[in-house]
């Protein structure tokens, strides 16, 4: 009895003029990505053209066509409703997500009432849709961790984790740990910031060691000391279950082993650098041997070469082994002459000591004089071979 009534109603709905079989009314996912919409297709053209559809509120639309995550009882998805010649559409506010189960509900009776079909219809159409989740293959690896040296100061401030492809973000600290020589996890080593410090493409993460534990005078330093203790061995471990941006875990676990050395409380000193100039007219590198390993990222930014006219020379920077040297390859063959290597005073060593200022300044001591402009500029003479 029930079924027969529903069939009759559907016949009305689906086919005002030409007969469209009930079986043709379907709930579907149309299109993909940001263009994807949930749809009711196979409805009678007369119904889809009903002008009253255009004036329905979201709440009214939801009364006859709604989509829910997992259970029909959960709140209906937000999105834009529309009708076109192919059917009724809900374009969700966010693209449907692979692996999520969606429940689609269509109540033809309510729609019929709203658009002016007075017939009593009570047949409800539902469909469960699971967007297939094709687990992507693991291809992403940890490419490099800086500092690259295996002897790190107790007051190490930063580490840079470089990945071969963009990573997922938001839960990073769960996958990173510092292990002591016994393989035990060192608690609270990092400054776990809500805003994880990724580069724009999500391939490099900057890890900050908790400055509270590094700074003398602050309670964390006094009470629990630094995370890394001089003379002991440690490992930075990257858990292989960390998903990349596509959702695939890393190819393998990664461990960087290192030993902690006494804290570094000295600024980098450009006066102690050694410059190896290239030969004129060549494409050789200009090499600067630094007095200590410096911050990998800042070496790409805070050393620049100017020609005699004060113009920045265009070229490519390579940071040498253990970040102890800086190599510069000019785009064009070297013109013999005088150049100036400019040192930005914000250049830092591994413990956050800048060229111009220590990470922590002891106010009870005689202040160290910041380097003069002349000291922040190193002359390089390139001669013809």
């Amino acid at each position: 009895m029930e079924a027969r009534r529903a069939t009759a109603a559907f016949a009305l709905l689906c086919s005002a003029t030409a007969a469209v079989a009930e079986a043709e009314v379907r709930l579907e996912l149309v299109g993909g990505g940001d263009e994807a919409s949930f749809a009711v297709v196979g409805l009678a053209p007369a119904l889809l053209e009903a002008t009253s559809l255009g004036s329905l509120s979201t709440r009214e639309w939801q009364s006859f066509f709604s989509v829910h995550v997992d259970r029909v009882e959960s709140p209906a998805l937000l999105g834009d409703y529309s009708a076109d010649s192919t059917g009724l559409h809900l374009r969700p506010a966010f693209p449907p997500e692979p692996g999520v189960r969606y429940q689609l509900v269509f109540e033809p009776g309510i729609l019929a009432d709203l658009v002016g079909h007075p017939q009593e219809v009570d047949r409800r159409l539902t469909r469960e849709l699971l967007i297939p989740f094709d687990a992507p293959q693991s291809t992403t690896v940890v490419e490099m961790i800086y500092p690259s040296t295996d002897l790190l100061p107790e007051n190490l401030l930063k580490m840079y984790l470089h990945f071969s492809a963009p990573m997922s973000q938001g839960d990073s600290y769960r996958y990173i740990s510092i292990l002591d020589s016994q393989g035990e996890v060192e608690e609270l080593s990092f400054l776990e910031l809500e805003e994880e410090l990724w580069d724009p493409r999500g391939r490099r993460l900057t890890l900050l060691f908790d400055p509270g534990r590094l700074k003398r005078g602050l309670r964390p330093h006094r009470d629990i000391g630094p995370a890394l203790e001089s003379g002991f061995d440690f490992a930075l471990r990257i858990d292989p279950s960390w998903p990349d941006a596509r959702g695939a875990p890393l190819v393998a676990e990664y461990q960087k082993r290192f030993r902690a050395r006494p804290p570094d409380r000295k600024s980098p000193d450009p006066k102690r650098w050694r410059v190896e100039p290239p030969s004129g007219h060549s494409f050789e590198a200009l090499t600067v041997h630094l007095d200590e390993p410096l911050d990998h990222a800042l070496l790409h930014r805070h050393l620049t070469l100017e020609d005699a006219g004060g113009k920045i020379v265009d070229g490519r920077i390579e940071v040498g082994e253990e970040e102890r040297s800086w190599r510069f390859f000019a785009k064009k063959a070297w013109t013999p002459g005088r150049y100036q290597l400019r040192v930005n005073p914000r250049l830092e060593d591994l413990a956050g000591n800048r060229v111009s200022r220590l990470f922590e300044v002891d106010l009870t001591e005689v202040p160290t004089v910041a380097p003069s402009a002349a000291e922040l500029s190193i002359e390089v003479v390139i001669v013809a071979p």
Partner: protein, 369 residues
């Protein structure tokens, strides 16, 4: 009182004659655009005048000023309480609970609607979202596809820094907190390459070019060590008539400095007034007045919510000696507010919190302690 009737009458007349003026847009300045605000991420939030919502787009190092149009006064809105809010947002956004991450909470002081910035989905599928929750519990999305907005970029200067293979700089200055004070938007940031504390002041409405001024803020520790660190959260308040900033650092000193000082220098050393303790990160701060006294309420990652008497802060000199236990200001820890992850002022006497509850996270209105 007698004046009120004619003024109201004139106003109603004006409104009748000029309904457009009544629905007038908020002043976003000459940089205002209407269309899709293409946020890459939705992070810290703050309200300005006339229902203008400032959104920190951390990924793009930009600030959006969005005209929400949400200006309807609701001085006597009931308390906003909503259980399992994350699960509800997830359902509306077509995902499961772990697919939603709430980044910040701000209450529109005009309508008492709560605005929640979030990211929906992960990895390549992550999309920014701003949800609104009305005092009656209705949840909606703030449309970003057709909206009036102005955008300010935080990038300093074109830099010659390390580039990736597609020649894009790896450097990002992310945004940790925002506040609007008298025509200025204060922004604290955190660089992914330099460990420093920068506070930027942007004129609002945003100017076409000026990226604002930036200053570095140092703080002392026990009178001996002076350092620089990123500011995690801050609040503004007046000491006498002088506007001040109270900033909580990532390593938990609470530091105060005056806005006037900021305007004059490119480097400021603030006064450390308290240390908020070990193994802890400050999350949000709210300043309020109760019984004629000013208080600071701050939520923390590990130490619940703390209440600090600011009159005491004013009296407290810099921490000059090693204090073995409690450094600086005395504070009260409100243990019953354990698990607060977001906090904002709701009205004169209440705060709105996002707190871990039995069914995920709840939005709760609480009396200011």
């Amino acid at each position: 009182m007698k004046m009120r009737a004619p003024v109201t009458a004139i106003l109603s007349l004006l409104l009748l004659c000029a309904p457009i003026a009544y629905a007038a847009n908020a002043d976003l300045g000459s940089a205002a655009k209407t269309g899709a605000a293409e946020l890459e991420s939705a992070g810290p939030l703050a309200f300005g005048p006339d229902g203008i919502l400032f959104v920190g787009d951390t990924k793009a190092a930009a600030i959006y000023a969005i005209d929400t149009g949400d200006r309807k006064g609701a001085t006597k809105a009931g308390a906003l309480n909503l259980e399992g809010v994350t699960a509800k947002l997830a359902a509306l956004a077509g995902t499961t609970e772990d697919g939603i991450r709430i980044n910040d909470l701000a209450v529109n002081p005009l309508s008492k609607k709560a605005y929640l910035s979030a990211s929906r989905g992960q990895g390549d599928n992550a999309r920014p979202a701003i949800f609104t929750v009305s005092p009656n519990g209705d949840i909606d999305l703030l449309s970003l596809s057709k909206v009036r907005y102005a955008r300010a970029t935080l990038t300093d200067v074109p830099d010659h820094s390390a580039k990736d293979r597609r020649d894009r700089s790896l450097r990002v200055e992310s945004i940790t907190d925002l506040a609007y004070v008298d025509g200025q938007l204060l922004v604290t940031g955190l660089s992914n390459e330099e460990f420093s504390s920068r506070l930027r002041s942007l004129e609002f409405p945003f100017q076409q070019i000026a990226p604002g001024t930036t200053i570095e803020i140092y703080h002392g520790s026990h009178g001996r060590w002076e350092t620089n660190a990123p500011i995690r959260a801050f609040a503004t308040y007046d000491i006498g008539t002088a506007p001040h900033v109270l900033a909580a650092y990532t390593c938990t000193p609470l530091v105060k400095f005056s806005l006037e000082e900021l305007a004059m220098a490119d480097r400021v050393t603030g006064t450390t007034v308290a240390e908020l303790g070990n193994r802890n990160r400050p999350l949000d701060m709210v300043v309020y007045t109760q019984g004629g006294r000013d208080y600071l309420l701050t939520s923390n990652s590990a130490r619940g919510v703390m209440k600090i008497d600011l009159a005491e802060a004013e009296k407290t000199a810099a921490i000059t000696d090693r204090v073995p236990d409690k450094a600086g200001l005395a504070y009260e820890t409100l243990t019953d507010l354990e698990g607060v992850v977001q906090l904002d002022r709701y009205d004169k006497d209440h705060a709105l919190i996002l707190i871990a509850g039995d069914s995920g996270q709840d939005l709760r209105t609480i009396p200011l302690p």
